[in-house]
């Protein structure tokens, strides 16, 4: 079982490779899910890569990352438990990334596979479209990483979350992160930004996703991801069964919120 104290993680993407830990008291961070790493280095998308509206943040970073080989050579050393986030542009790439990661898997308390990034042409969201093939893929990943705590990061597009959760449970994976960003479109100075929506707008969607999955699979570890900006938000996710509270885009508003939620979780979860 994944024991994070407090049960609060900084979410993949906004949390980068641990930079926010310079601004946040580590005692209130149970773990950090690092930025998604792919087989080959990615430069990411052109700018603008991010914008904010009244109730959402939209990003089209495009998984900028150094690639798995560079990553395993230079695993960050952080003062809190680390969860790796891995992605791929194809079936084979996911497996290759998993094999390469295995060399350093003991440095991580868990590994999350990103099956839902909306900002890349291949992999991410598109990998999940073919259910049978996706199921085969996650069976193969489990074979490569038999001892790792495996978490699937799932969005609400391309699959119903409860359907994805069933496949995750059937294949012997341990957890699910709900939800990834949702595809959106934002106008900025007359130009369109197509990217993934996060922020307060995502909260009711994420709450429903956690609720539906936890209702069906109470033993599956669920990391809540979507619109946590306050203690009240964290409470609501706990009420629908979330095991771990994720903080992502809220870091951009006030990194201090992590300490507030972390303290609360320590009180109620020990």
């Amino acid at each position: 079982m994944l024991e994070l104290k407090p049960p609060l993680v900084l979410l993949s993407g906004p949390a980068g490779f641990g930079e926010y830990l310079k601004l946040i008291d580590h005692r209130y961070v149970g773990g950090i899910i690092l930025k998604t790493v792919t087989l080959n280095p990615k430069e990411g998308n052109s700018t603008p890569r991010m914008a904010d509206g009244d109730f959402y943040v939209i990003n089209r970073i495009g998984l900028e990352n150094p690639g798995i080989h560079e990553f395993v050579e230079n695993v960050p050393e952080l003062p809190v438990p680390m969860i790796a986030s891995l992605g791929g542009d194809s079936f084979e790439e996911y497996l290759e990334v998993a094999r390469t990661f295995k060399k350093v898997s003991d440095k991580f308390c868990a590994v999350e596979f990103n099956f839902s990034c909306p900002n890349v042409k291949e992999g991410g969201l598109s990998i999940i479209k073919d259910r049978k093939r996706w199921k085969t893929l996650i069976v193969e990943i489990r074979k490569i990483l038999p001892d790792s705590f495996l978490i699937a990061k799932i969005g609400i597009e391309g699959i119903f979350v409860e359907e994805a959760a069933e496949i995750v449970v059937d294949t012997g994976w341990n957890g699910i992160t709900l939800v990834n960003t949702v595809r959106g479109l934002h106008f900025e100075k007359g130009s369109m930004i197509l990217g993934g929506l996060s922020g307060p707008l995502l909260k009711p969607i994420a709450l429903r996703a956690v609720y539906e999955v936890k209702r069906r699979f109470p033993k599956l570890l669920v990391i809540a991801s979507g619109g946590v900006y306050s203690m009240k938000d964290a409470k609501e996710f706990l009420n629908v069964g979330a095991d771990v509270i994720g903080v992502g885009s809220a870091l951009f508003k006030d990194p201090g919120i992590v300490e507030e939620i972390g303290k609360y979780l320590m009180e109620v979860k020990g």
Binding site: Y20, N59, E64, F252
Partner: protein, 217 residues
């Protein structure tokens, strides 16, 4: 780098849409560094650090709800910083800035041998104490007639950067870049800038870059 809460002391209007915001507190920073300030919006915004009348101060161009709130309503403002890399050059430099970077000039004057040239699109409301040209035409005329300096640093709008690069290409010229930032600390990768040495980030690798390092397209 730290989290802090700044107390707004007063504001002065510089031109049609730019204000100087003074703070009660002091921060230890190097010229060129910036801070991220919280507003009612969902993402903190970056402001280059500087001084005015010996106070810690930032210049703010009101562009939307967040900047309007800082200028008109805010009393206490949460933030984090100082961020980015400071800038240091020997020799005689020229700082070419828009009013949005006015307070930055004071920080440079304290540490380096610099002249200051302000280019403002609209008339300034009080003498800034620096050579000031108003309007695009006058600014272009001024650029064509600049004396020689060891180095130049431009901090203003994208348009200002582009015309300065056209005029100063071949010289040692630096640009303090502006790009949308989510975190300001190198985590989110939103403020990418494509350089001849690959992707860099304005917040962590900059904000100041040498002109001949940038991909101008």
């Amino acid at each position: 780098m730290e989290r802090f809460c700044l107390t707004k002391k007063k504001t002065i209007r510089v031109n049609e849409n730019t204000w100087i915001v003074f703070f009660e507190e002091q921060l230890d920073f190097s010229p060129g560094q910036f801070i991220m300030l919280e507003t009612p919006k969902l993402v903190r915004k970056p402001f280059v650090l500087g001084y005015w009348e010996e106070n810690l101060a930032v210049s703010i161009q009101v562009k939307g709800k967040g900047t309007k709130w800082i200028v008109e309503e805010a009393k206490k403002i949460k933030g984090h910083g100082p961020l980015g890399n400071g800038f240091r050059r020997d020799g005689k430099g020229l700082l070419i800035i828009s009013p949005t970077c006015l307070t930055m000039a004071r920080a440079f004057e304290k540490k380096m041998n610099v002249d200051i040239l302000v280019g403002s699109k609209s008339p300034v409301l009080f003498p800034l104490g620096y050579e000031t040209v108003v309007g695009d035409e006058n600014f272009l005329k001024k650029l064509s007639d600049l004396p020689e300096y060891d180095w130049y640093l431009v901090s203003g709008s994208r348009g200002m950067e582009e015309v300065c690069w056209e005029h100063l290409k071949g010289e040692e010229v630096y640009f303090s870049l502006e790009e949308y930032m989510g975190c300001g600390i190198g985590a989110c990768k939103s403020c990418a800038v494509f350089t001849k040495n690959g992707v860099k980030h304005v917040c962590a690798d900059g904000p100041i870059f040498r002109g001949d390092e940038l991909c101008w397209s």
